[in-house]
């Protein structure tokens, strides 16, 4: 089979990238058109879907990535039971488009619709309904796994290899298809409410008051506020609602056609935030599932706004608000320019994956442009705080955490390692596990 060369003549890194565009490396790629396509032998591979992982967990330093977008066929859909089976390169957006008109929705939706089913499994993704529904892996009824020894198996919840493959970072083999239990919804519309808060205490109180009555909750935090303003932000809560029976159309994203210096990004985000904060202390609206679940998609390719050096996203979970306060305090004093941070309280529903990230507590997500050494230092300090408070950092977002941080956050790491397919490897794994 022919292999795609990833380095263009200019010597500039090309080929598949991660979403944060850091590290920028040459990445070889091998597209798959069918689940039974031959895989290269004697060289480690890694499945690559939409490249929405931010750091290096979707890249492979030792061989090609397998582009799974060619595996995007539906296999079956039971519209009465809401059970959908599709090849692993199918995106959640494609699933939503297919099932919404029949009154169903993927049970867990992240900030972007451009995530493959395989990626949703490999990272055991979560959404704004984690306190209700748990992570994606809880809703997977079965999956097909192809290993480098040639074996093909169907895995179910309860199988040890299933528990390793969910949140398994693509390291246990090639997920060829996924069968998922969808969620019944009254329409494609969401009743949403946004409420301003002035402190983390207020945010926590809002969440206490909302978590039983709203299926979807999340907060935006002003990452630049300091001192007494620290922790101010906007709390969003929503429920799927009755609405027009024709589902809302899948929007076409506006594309960012060029790399831009970050100075273009900051006014954009700050203006949006300040407009919300200053003028809309409390506001209700009915919005489509596309806009509600996938705000990141409004500006396609927004990652390019961070310029050539790329950016980091740091997502951690800590057991209580004390840890969040410490992380935010550090962020605001460092002037690393995280304009907007996202805060969400995970629920108690456990994840089936050995390396699942979601666990009870608060998860804080911070975007920072890559300014070299000072940024790396700041992120190491963030990790130190996460360790102190007994939390974990999310591998899907990571490009630089230490092996120690990873190990402390994931106590089942050694057990997981026994299930890794020796023919699969990621840059993340090589870096963190040495």
């Amino acid at each position: 089979m022919v292999r795609q060369r990833a380095v263009a003549e200019t010597g500039q890194a090309s080929g598949p990238e991660s979403w944060g565009r850091y590290p920028r490396v040459a990445q070889e790629a091998l597209p798959l058109a069918w689940a039974d396509d031959p895989l290269p032998s004697g060289i480690a591979v890694l499945p690559y879907g939409m490249g929405r992982s931010y750091g290096d967990s979707c890249l492979n330093a030792e061989g090609p990535v397998l582009l799974t977008r060619g595996l995007r066929r539906f296999i079956s859909f039971d519209a009465d039971a809401g059970v959908l089976r599709a090849e692993a390169g199918t995106t959640l957006g494609e699933v939503t488009e297919q099932v919404l008109g029949r009154g169903w929705l993927p049970p867990v939706l992240p900030g972007t619709q451009f995530v493959t089913l395989g990626g949703a499994v490999a990272n055991d993704i979560h959404g704004k309904n984690h306190h209700r529904a748990g992570a994606f892996g809880r809703h997977v009824r079965a999956l097909g796994l192809r290993r480098s020894d040639g074996s093909l198996s169907t895995l179910h919840p309860g199988d040890p290899l299933f528990a390793a493959t969910v949140a398994g970072l693509g390291l246990t083999g090639l997920v060829t298809w996924v069968e998922v239990q969808l969620e019944r919804v009254p329409s494609g519309w969401v009743e949403q409410e946004a409420i301003r808060f002035r402190s983390l205490e207020e945010a926590e109180a809002l969440d206490d008051a909302s978590r039983d009555t709203y299926s979807h909750t999340v907060a935006w935090i002003d990452g630049l506020a300091r001192g007494r303003a620290l922790g101010r932000g906007v709390y969003f809560r929503g429920n799927l609602a009755e609405g027009p029976t024709t589902p809302p159309r899948r929007p076409k994203p506006r594309k960012v056609p060029f790399e831009a210096p970050e100075l273009l990004l900051s006014p954009f985000l700050l203006r949006t935030f300040n407009a919300l904060y200053d003028h809309l202390p409390r506001w209700r609206s009915r919005t489509s599932v596309w806009k509600f679940f996938h705000p990141l998609d409004a500006l396609g390719g927004w990652n390019r706004l961070y310029g050539r050096r790329g950016f980091f996203q740091h997502q951690s979970v800590v057991p209580d608000m004390e840890g969040v306060r410490a992380l935010l305090a550090l962020t605001s004093t460092r002037g690393q320019g995280s304009f907007l941070s996202v805060l969400k309280r995970f629920g108690a529903l456990s994840s089936p994956g050995m390396l699942s990230f979601p666990r009870p507590g608060w998860t804080l997500t911070v975007d920072v442009p890559n300014r070299g050494e000072e940024t790396l230092t700041y992120l190491d300090e963030m990790d130190a705080l996460v360790r102190t408070y007994g939390g974990a950092v999310y591998p899907a977002k990571d490009a630089r955490m230490s092996g120690e941080t990873f190990r402390l956050g994931y106590p089942r790491l050694d057990e997981f390692a026994t299930f890794i397919d020796p023919g699969f490897r990621s840059r993340f794994w090589s870096r963190v596990m040495g």
């Binding site: 091998l30 069918w34 066929r73 539906f74 079956s76 090849e87 297919q98």
Partner: protein, 249 residues
């Protein structure tokens, strides 16, 4: 608008054919599918059924077996209860280097890309003319517009196919059958693996599928996909040969 369309796709597992078929399936079309691999064909058929298509026939066949063409078309016509759209979409991209060194390889690729495609078009046209109805689409390529060093074995077959489709369309004038010649530029498909291309010139397969669907439904006679290739190729065809031969693309 295209609900209930009766569509036969030959080479139904090609990435472009799948993209076109997805659009037809979503609009509730009835589909007959022919491709080489039975397993891949059933994966495509299942997908189209989930999307709302009704797959009434699946046939695994080597389309280079010319003797089967009439039977395949007749079976499809019967299963679909008529033919509104026939799309000839099978093809291979031979390795240029290997094919120019070994004529058997070149000829084998011409059998797939030209001879079998032309013969299939005749077989389909024969039935469609009787019914005085239908659109007969064929996937040619911009590569057939002017032979270039790095893919002229492929380009020669597509040039022949374009000429054949033109002649067939001419012959069928007034019969109620329309021939649509489709000339995609580079598309993000497995066929493109290993080729160095400016990513800006590589089209998304879903965009291409929707465009081809529209061309078939409108009966456009010659369609470049995406449309900018009409102008790019007009320029490339018009280049004086001394300049053309100096260019690297």
């Amino acid at each position: 608008m295209t609900g209930g369309r009766r569509v036969l796709i030959l080479g139904a597992t090609s990435a472009i054919a799948q993209a076109v078929a997805r659009v037809y399936a979503t609009s509730g079309a009835r589909l007959a599918l022919v491709a080489r691999s039975r397993e891949h064909l059933s994966a495509v058929a299942a997908d189209l059924q989930v999307r709302g298509g009704e797959v009434v026939l699946q046939r695994a066949a080597d389309l280079c077996d010319l003797a089967r063409h009439r039977t395949l078309v007749a079976e499809a016509e019967q299963a679909l209860e008529g033919l509104d759209v026939v799309l000839v979409a099978h093809g291979v991209l031979p390795n240029q280097q290997a094919a120019q060194e070994d004529p058997r390889r070149a000829v084998a690729s011409w059998d797939v890309n030209f001879a079998s495609a032309a013969a299939l078009m005749e077989a389909a046209a024969e039935r469609m003319v009787v019914a005085e109805n239908g659109v007969l689409g064929v996937l040619s390529s911009v590569a057939g517009e002017r032979g270039r060093a790095d893919n002229y074995v492929y380009g020669a077959a597509k040039a022949a196919l374009t000429a054949y489709a033109s002649g067939l369309g001419h012959r069928l004038r007034g019969t109620g059958v329309t021939v649509v010649t489709i000339k995609p530029g580079p598309v993000d498909t497995p066929m493109m693996v290993g080729r160095k291309l400016n990513p800006r010139l590589v089209a998304d397969v879903d965009v291409v599928g929707r465009r081809i669907h529209r061309a078939l439904e409108r009966g456009e006679r010659v369609v470049y996909v995406p449309g900018k290739w009409r102008w790019i190729m007009a320029i490339i065809r018009a280049l004086p040969i001394r300049i053309f031969e100096r260019m690297r693309f």
